[in-house]
């Protein structure tokens, strides 16, 4: 089973990169390099340290923003899911946040917080947090009533019901919210660097486009996607490790 999914991943990667290579060779656009040209640029930038310096810059708002979004988001989500009053108070904020056109908000953020780290962290949080909060809240609300009753019938305290029943039962949906939130956070981090001040990976993208070094531009984009995929895989591993039976299916299926 595990082996088969690994093969599928490899096959789909080969198909994707093959299509990229062919599209670059036709070429669909003058500004669209082939897969191998992009990879060469990637290796070059990795070799001369450009990529490393860029990522040190980019990862800062990303890690801080995703970290804040995950902890605060899950915490708020639990709270919203458990209390109707809190739901009434906070849910609308996150629904609006999720729907807000971020590009339009960025000038406001820059006005309020300048062009430094704070604004970028905000952008990452605005992208990542709503889906984490809303998923967590709905997962908590939908905990099977009979599981909670089971806990109560064995005289579990509210804390134990929360920690050993509600959170594990909600974990699949919480994790899917985390995955969506983290992907959105990656988008937010790059968006911030493109719209606020060109630093890190956003700087490579902007700069290489301005000098028409398209392979380098695509290499930078590719690297950020690769990093996102690796991180999402890590999240999946973490979920399997924490809640083994959940991942394989529900008893009520």
């Amino acid at each position: 089973m595990m082996r088969r999914s690994l093969w599928l991943k490899i096959v789909s990667a080969v198909v994707l990169f093959g299509a990229w290579q062919i599209a670059g060779m036709i070429p669909v656009s003058y500004a669209f390099p082939t897969f191998f040209e992009s990879m060469a640029a990637l290796i070059r930038m990795a070799g001369d340290g450009t990529l490393l310096t860029a990522y040190i810059e980019t990862l800062r708002p990303l890690v801080v923003g995703v970290g804040i979004s995950a902890f605060l988001g899950i915490g708020l989500g639990l709270w919203i899911g458990l209390s109707a009053k809190f739901d009434w108070l906070f849910s609308p904020i996150f629904i609006v946040m999720q729907a807000a056109p971020l590009a339009a908000l960025i000038p406001l953020l820059v006005m309020a917080y300048g062009i430094g780290l704070t604004s970028k962290v905000f952008v990452v949080c605005i992208m990542a947090m709503p889906v984490i909060v809303l998923n967590t809240a709905s997962a908590v609300r939908n905990t099977p009533a009979s599981l909670k009753e089971m806990g109560r019938s064995f005289m579990a305290s509210d804390t134990k019901i929360m920690l050993r029943i509600i959170i594990p039962a909600a974990s699949p949906v919480i994790f899917s919210g985390l995955r969506l939130g983290v992907s959105a956070g990656f988008i937010g981090a790059i968006l911030a660097e493109l719209k606020i001040t060109p630093t890190g990976v956003g700087d490579i993208i902007t700069y290489s486009r301005s000098i028409a070094d398209y392979p380098a531009m695509y290499a930078a984009i590719f690297s950020i996607i690769l990093l996102a995929v690796l991180f999402l895989n890590f999240l999946e591993r973490l979920e399997v490790y924490l809640f083994e039976g959940n991942v394989r299916g529900y008893a009520s299926d």
Binding site: L147, G151, P168, R248, A251
Partner: protein
């Protein structure tokens, strides 16, 4: 208070007054405008199996949850071992109709969960859980997850979990309704053995007249909402007969018929 009329199925004179593990006195319960139970009184003799039988929606689950302490009645009182019930307690364990197993935990952890919540140390609770897993016939499945088990096996896990906390009273809400007929018959036989061997009081909700007559020491027939006990039937003689022949026994058939006769008017 409306006293239920007691009909002795076979023994004309009253059996000696046994002591009761659970007593329900004048229980009323309304959900908003729905009156589920009205002034219901019933005694559950210790060491025996009492079935609650009645049409769907008449409040059987509600009564069971009130006895479990999961719901508060609007009026009336439940006594367990002579003490009034204020909430869930170690003297009662619940077997859920939908099993209520945790999909993220394997069989061993599910069965030991009642003990885990009570703070019993890991090695001790796992030893107890393993004993009951074997007792319900699931030895070798300790590491399986619920979704890898059949419906019947899942129900055994729920049963083992309830048994492992060693409560005096076992509350079972239609425990066999989600399993096929063959498994159900096997479960009914197992249940009879359990009643014989474990010194526990069983309160058993079922839809099936045959099942109730087959396994019960006492059958309480509930009327549709607002529910009271309309009749109590004690198939006492059946309990002394050979289990294999009960279903062919004329007395068994008579009791099934008479229950059907009293219920049919409400079903139409």
């Amino acid at each position: 208070m409306v006293m239920p009329q007691i009909k002795e199925a076979d023994v004309p004179d009253m059996p000696p007054q046994s002591d009761n593990a659970v007593v329900a006195r004048g229980i009323s319960k309304t959900y908003g405008s729905v009156e589920a139970l009205r002034d219901l009184s019933l005694e559950f003799p210790r060491g025996q199996l009492t079935s609650l039988l009645g049409p769907s929606g008449c409040g059987k689950t509600t009564l069971l949850k009130i006895i479990a302490g999961l719901l508060k009645p609007n009026s009336g009182e439940i006594e367990v071992n002579g003490k009034p019930v204020k909430g869930p307690g170690p003297d009662r364990a619940f077997v859920f109709q939908d099993f209520a197993l945790m999909p993220w935990a394997n069989v061993l952890r599910n069965v030991a969960f009642g003990l885990e919540l009570r703070g019993v140390a890991t090695s001790e609770r796992e030893a107890i859980a393993e004993k009951y897993i074997a007792e319900v016939g699931l030895a070798g499945f300790e590491k399986s997850y619920p979704h890898q088990l059949s419906g019947g096996m899942r129900q055994r896990v729920g049963l083992a979990r309830a048994l492992s906390v060693d409560a005096d009273v076992l509350l079972m809400d239609e425990p066999f309704s989600a399993v096929d007929e063959q498994t159900r018959r096997k479960f009914q036989e197992d249940l009879l053995n359990l009643v014989q061997n474990e010194n526990k009081t069983f309160i058993f909700v079922t839809h099936s007249i045959e099942e109730a007559v087959y396994v019960s020491d006492q059958i309480a027939i509930l009327l549709p909402r607002p529910s009271r006990v309309s009749e109590i039937i004690r198939p006492t003689d059946l309990r002394h007969k050979n289990v294999d022949n009960i279903r062919r026994d004329p007395e068994y058939l008579d009791i099934v018929d008479s229950i059907w006769a009293s219920l049919r008017s409400y079903v139409e």
